[in-house]
Symmetry: C2
Subunit: 221 residues, 2 copies
């Protein structure tokens, strides 16, 4: 355990999770402002574009370093660089998607990834009818080729049916993947060194269902 001497490294290690989750939003807001011709932006302007309040934005950015100029604001282009660096988008890692069903195809064709430096590099499936197809400029390969496509730092995306997800997850981990994004509606278990995030479409709807009913009840009485 080496004591971190560089302040840069201290900062990197100590960025709160909640802040990291917002950095991509700021990045997108900055791109938007840049397109509108802003060369500099105050925390107030940036916060509005990102949909947060300015105090939160300033504290978030302060975790990265002091990249603003008092009385002026933030240099848009420079801040894009800094956030991209913080997120590791300067040297993007490869993304491997497993499960080329409806959702998998949608993800493969989703333009939002490429624009931020993160593009899907490989599509894998087990269905022999799907393997070999060309989708979004990529040829679908068989899941057995997983070890060959995982090179160094890779992110795995699981878009399989729920029943296949845990096995696919295990195979990703075996192949050396340490960051996994799961779209299958299942709880996955992974070793402690693996980062796992999940996106569950039906859960989001159920949360809204709760709020919708709560509002309806309040109106009734």
């Amino acid at each position: 355990m080496t004591a971190p001497s560089l302040p840069e490294e201290r900062r990197r290690a100590g960025i709160p999770e909640a802040t990291i989750a917002r950095l991509p939003v700021y990045l997108r807001a900055l791109h938007g402002l840049a397109e509108e011709g802003f060369v500099t932006a105050s925390s107030e302007e940036l916060a509005e574009a990102a949909g947060v309040n300015s105090a939160k934005l300033r504290k978030d950015l302060s975790h990265l370093g002091s990249y603003g100029t008092r009385g002026v604001g933030y240099d848009v282009e420079h801040l894009v660089e800094e956030i991209s660096t913080a997120l590791g988008l300067q040297r993007p890692c490869s993304v491997v998607l497993v499960g080329v069903g409806n959702l998998g195809r949608a993800l493969a064709g989703y333009g939002g990834f490429a624009s931020r430096g993160l593009a899907i590099d490989a599509l894998l499936d087990v269905d022999t009818a799907t393997v070999g197809q060309q989708i979004a400029g990529l040829t679908v390969r068989h899941l057995d080729e997983l070890p060959a496509v995982v090179t160094g730092a890779s992110i795995g995306v699981i878009a399989t049916p729920a029943r296949a997800a845990q096995e696919v997850c295990d195979r990703l981990v075996s192949a050396g993947v340490t960051s996994i994004l799961n779209f299958a509606p299942t709880v996955l278990v992974v070793p402690p060194h693996v980062d796992l995030r999940k996106v569950d479409l039906s859960i989001e709807l159920q949360i809204l269902s709760f709020h919708e009913h709560r509002k309806a009840m309040g109106a009734d009485r």
Copy 2:
């Protein structure tokens, strides 16, 4: 402002947001346990199936009421009922999806919704080539018909390109929708009485990118 006299209602109003976000997970875990033949389940068992610790699960459930039996655990079937009721899934509201592109199709075909009582009831788009198509048993209708398909309590799902999202959002709100799930990579602004949730696929990847790079840096030094 009537003072809530029924404890049931007090509970409903006071459920913390974080708890609500986990109730759907518990619901799914309970269905899984039921299929495995469990008629009763301890907080420990349920917590493991849901991927949380048992203390959290117990506190979450305590916000709904006292539906467990000390020394025994929770009746699986009964708890399913209670959580479903709390989430408003007993009388599910209709779901209207706008934007039948790749993602929209994937969502329309996603089985996970129907199994929990929340099914997509209408598909809308503006593309004349898409309108009229049959997808997942539904006929795609034109966005102009929005007022006709929104009946009472409805949830709106936005799966359009980013540039169209705000206008679609405004039209949903005008039609009376007060709960919106946004998949478009944009910050939407809504009136305060509207609940808005967002799912952003590229943001999730960028968060993983951060962790992946952090791990790689730690290994290097």
